[in-house]
Symmetry: C2
Subunit: 311 residues, 2 copies
């Protein structure tokens, strides 16, 4: 029997991947806030570079306690909303179910394994450009593939587990290009090597990735911050290839002028994922005994700006 999925958070990420699973015939249940009524009355729309589609009859809920317990819960909230998970997760996933964390940054899995002790927790790294343009409508602009790795409480590589393969098989049925990760931690850190400088500096310098790379001072700063993130990753047991810093600088040169989602959040006065993307990696680095002053400075700048933006 095919697995049931609870999608926790029906923004761009939850809406996009949840709609793909729905379209493939999986039994999918969405937790939503402001969009719930629109989706229930109309449909969930995906305007996609791969072809538009919509899900007309969506199981959508405002309240986790009304949802059925599913085989898999996919966390697609902003990490700033993760405080609700201790209430939500016990309602929506079976005791021996699977929890997928479709978030950036560090620290979510550590909290989730404490909430759902019997569940298997996987990280899903999403490489997708998608935005919610209006209630119940997701615009999918580019990419869409994911990588999936198993979380281990000791932070060590788990290898490719049967749960990874199971989820990967479902995602493949749903038309999602999906890759298995033997070392979730390394993949999360590698994504941070890009996210920390470009998301952070795009907010602090009120700028695009293109402008950051074009100016010699900010380009050097992005380079130096990426180097610190690599040092932190290695100290935390996830050494990355030497070439990753230069490769990411050059990759970013090829992007169109791009505002990372953290910049969009800041401009819209929404909370930024400061702790998961900056604070938790900083803490991990410091616990591992390494000195990362630029990461620390960027974290403090963003923590200040986030507070001022929310008041």
């Amino acid at each position: 029997m095919s697995k049931s999925y609870a999608i926790i958070g029906t923004g761009a990420i939850g809406g996009f991947y949840g709609a793909k699973l729905s379209r493939a015939g999986f039994d999918v249940h969405f937790l939503a806030r402001s969009d719930a009524d629109f989706i229930r009355s109309n449909a969930l729309f995906v305007d996609s570079v791969d072809g538009d589609f919509n899900i007309p009859h969506v199981n959508v809920y405002r309240d986790a306690s009304s949802m059925p317990r599913c085989d898999v819960a996919a966390i697609a909230l902003k990490s700033t909303a993760n405080g609700i998970l201790s209430h939500v997760l016990p309602w929506v996933v079976k005791k021996d179910g699977v929890v997928l964390v479709l978030q950036n940054g560090l620290g979510a899995e550590e909290d989730i394994v404490k909430i759902v002790k019997g569940a298997s927790v996987l990280g899903v790294l999403c490489y997708v450009c998608a935005i919610k343009t209006e209630p119940g409508r997701i615009k999918h602009l580019a990419f869409g593939h994911v990588t999936i790795g198993q979380f281990a409480a000791n932070g060590r590589p788990s290898g490719i587990t049967s749960t990874i393969r199971d989820i990967n098989a479902d995602f493949s049925k749903a038309g999602i290009v999906s890759e298995n990760l033997p070392d979730l931690g390394a993949a999360r850190w590698k994504k941070l090597v890009w996210n920390i400088p470009y998301s952070g500096l795009s907010v602090v310098l009120s700028s695009t990735t293109e402008a950051i790379n074009a100016n010699p001072h900010s380009r050097q700063l992005a380079h130096d911050i990426m180097t610190e993130v690599c040092v932190a990753a290695a100290a935390c047991g996830h050494p990355l290839e030497q070439s990753v810093v230069d490769a990411m600088l050059i990759y970013t040169d090829t992007l169109p002028p791009y505002a990372p989602s953290m910049k969009l959040d800041y401009d819209a006065k929404r909370p930024m994922e400061v702790e998961s993307i900056f604070g938790n990696p900083l803490q991990a680095a410091q616990s591992a005994g390494v000195h990362v002053p630029r990461l620390e400075m960027l974290y403090r700048e963003l923590a200040f700006l986030d507070t001022m933006n929310q008041t």
Copy 2:
């Protein structure tokens, strides 16, 4: 015979101290740009907390080559305009005259001694809140005292020279509270301990000194940056007292909400003194072999913002 003064730059600083010297009967000549015609036709006005006054008949010039060679030239330009000094100084100061540098930051004296080889070069640190409110009109809000030290090419303390005493005597006659500095370098670095974090962060975080101090993240960041500046000062031969960082934090708590002049420059899209206040101290620290990553990051952030602001 009393000395003649050339005031190079008739903004808030040059206008205020030049007007005081004029009022005391010194022969003062002002180099101005946009304000020259207004001042010549009207007067130079000082609206001061210590009592308003004006100088009705001002010797004011748009062109340095029209000015008489004076005993003393006081440089009161923004340091970003120091490129004109190699043209200006030979016209306005006698070969064996005195040059006073009324600027913050590092590096101006080194350049000036190359331009006027026979002159004696002094640094004058101004502790004053004054702004130019309109052409030919300076508003003096608070303070006003100065400290005066002799520049030595080797950067070492010069002690209290007879030139310092001469200038101090003139300033005292003009009603300016003035103190002699045995170690100009130490005083410049000590002023940077405040200026670097608060001027820099007020721009990067778009904030006042009050908000920076009120938030625990930005307060810690100001503390950490000040600590780096102290490390740099010591490496450059000017060890400051251990207590200076905490003392400046607490002093800043007592200020009213205050936007440093660099923030005013940024908001008005004027060039910021990035090199003299950040770049030159950074270079001095690096030449002395110390690692100041936060100062370097702040410098690069400001260099980026300044470039974007000017284009």
